[in-house]
Symmetry: C2
Subunit: 332 residues, 2 copies
């Protein structure tokens, strides 16, 4: 298309490829976040939906459907479904985490109240189910309702695993599969399903989304300790919120007696003093736990790329492969 692909990042290239469809998705989202009776609903939703997120999840659905040669209208509904589920979970997450900021703006629970965030989140969940029912495709409904259950289960598991130093890498993997990878995986899988592609391709796209989501969340958890000049993201939020992410889990597993006492005090008991984040970073560094997290994330990105091998050659397939690379490139 005369586009200098070498100069563009893969998610920007994907956004260009599905730009016409994404315009339809945006229109559908605006139409369905309306409420004749309760104007609070579109106010709260617009605050999040129009905050300038990258819309990575609906983009994955549109890209998957396009690559699979889908010719019907339902990829638009499914992409909007996926974005509504994501927005609903963000609203509820911010209540659960008592967050004050998201994407550099005050959260809805701060601007309105927790009540509005809980109930508008419920409304968007229900709206997402209406949208997917409109596709009339029972297999798609099965995939997306399973994803919704896995997401909620992952969030509950994260809540109960927080502050518990016995949390191992296996529980961490279940948590991030729930909170992140389940929706990525459903987003890519449904594109192949509505296009009626063979099982091998459906499985490949589900596996790609799963591995991409896991890599994506591991990078997020890495950057929360390592920092990132590109995003300007603050370091140490997870430590302050006493969340057990992979860097800490690996450092706890390798801790000597004094280090263990440090983690018990700061994470388990939550008694944090000035300088504790620095000490946490030194302990994490001493055991190579950030490096190990990076290696693990890279391995999942590689799994994502490998999954694409089961699919026919396509420009979008190559861009999805580059996207997996790009997700872990933030680690350098």
């Amino acid at each position: 298309m005369g586009l200098d692909t070498a100069a563009t990042k893969p998610h920007e290239r994907l956004a260009e490829i599905v730009a016409p469809e994404m315009a339809e998705v945006s229109a559908l989202i605006r139409a369905r976040m309306a409420s004749e009776h309760a104007p609070r609903i579109p106010e709260v939703t617009a605050h999040l939906v129009e905050a300038g997120g990258k819309r990575l999840r609906p983009m994955l659905t549109l890209a998957s459907a396009k690559m699979c040669g889908y010719g019907g209208p339902h990829h638009i509904h499914l992409a909007a479904t996926v974005e509504f589920i994501h927005t609903a979970t963000l609203l509820h997450d911010d209540v659960v985490d008592e967050s004050a900021q998201r994407r550099g703006r005050p959260t809805a629970n701060l601007l309105w109240d927790n009540q509005s965030s809980v109930l508008v989140g419920d409304y968007l969940f229900a709206r997402s189910f209406q949208l997917m029912v409109e596709t009339g495709n029972l297999r798609v409904l099965d995939i997306l309702s399973n994803a919704a259950a896995t997401i909620a289960e992952g969030e509950v598991l994260q809540l109960t695993a927080a502050r518990n130093l016995a949390t191992g890498p296996d529980v961490y993997l279940k948590v991030i599969r729930g909170k992140t990878a389940a929706l990525f995986s459903a987003a890519t899988e449904v594109g192949a399903v509505i296009a009626g592609r063979p099982e091998s391709e459906v499985r490949a796209l589900a596996a790609y989304g799963d591995a991409l989501g896991i890599a994506f969340q591991m990078v997020d958890d890495y950057l929360d300790f390592a920092g990132s000049e590109a995003t300007g993201k603050a370091v140490g939020d997870d430590f302050r919120e006493r969340k057990l992410t992979l860097p800490v889990i690996l450092a706890v597993a390798a801790a000597d007696e004094a280090e263990r006492a440090f983690w018990v005090r700061t994470v388990e008991k939550g008694r944090q003093d000035e300088g504790d984040l620095g000490e946490a970073l030194r302990i994490i560094g001493r055991h190579g736990a950030l490096e190990a997290t990076k290696t693990e994330a890279q391995a999942w990105a590689e799994k994502a790329r490998a999954a694409l091998g089961a699919l026919p050659e396509h420009e979008i397939r190559d861009t999805l492969s580059d996207l997996a690379d790009y997700v872990v490139a933030r680690l350098r």
Copy 2:
């Protein structure tokens, strides 16, 4: 069946009629509230599900399906779906209302925390969608996903209408249609749909559930001011929470200047002193607002009974008719 029907209340008679099916529903609920990864989920759910509620909503689905001659297995899934949606909304309502008690026991948000109530509620919503997808019936999915959206919309409307003295009977009707009648209506309607009954019967059962739910909620709102010896329910919760229910809405509409100032101070501004509940009751009484609420509830119960006229004669039909009577009999 040798049952002395004259001596039993209609909901007890219905419970007897669908007892074998309800045992299956209970087993399905127990199986589906499990979570391999997050034991917090069944803990919180069991607290509510096993608290000894009357299970009126799943009973309506089972009764409707049985009356309609349904012979398949999916009424069990649908009844469990309806109970899961109800339980999820209770969990979220208690967070929104900051309630400390439900059915005479401490609420989940008090025993665990708001976070658990929000996330376990999300899990139950997702589980309810999985259950309804298993029926493979798209029309049922349409009805229940619409009901879920109407419920959430009604809850948001209630939140934004609270404390607003401009709230009229029209907004009140929308709120209670959402928070109560939508699920009653879906519960009875889906029984006719899965049984493949003619449209006239489907519409009749939807209208019955809608009117029964509206009457049910109006009685609840009446008793919150009038009190009830049978339930031992405390009087004045809605007044203290500054909810605008029909008795107050009608009293506000008829208020003189001094009374209006009273409602502005106590409900709009929330400055309530000792003795204000008594004064509210006197003002409500002066304008016959409790009597008017009672008349309105009785009219909806009559609509519920009338809707049943479109259905063939059946023991269950007569019991549903008695149930509509019984709901407003609490008013005497």
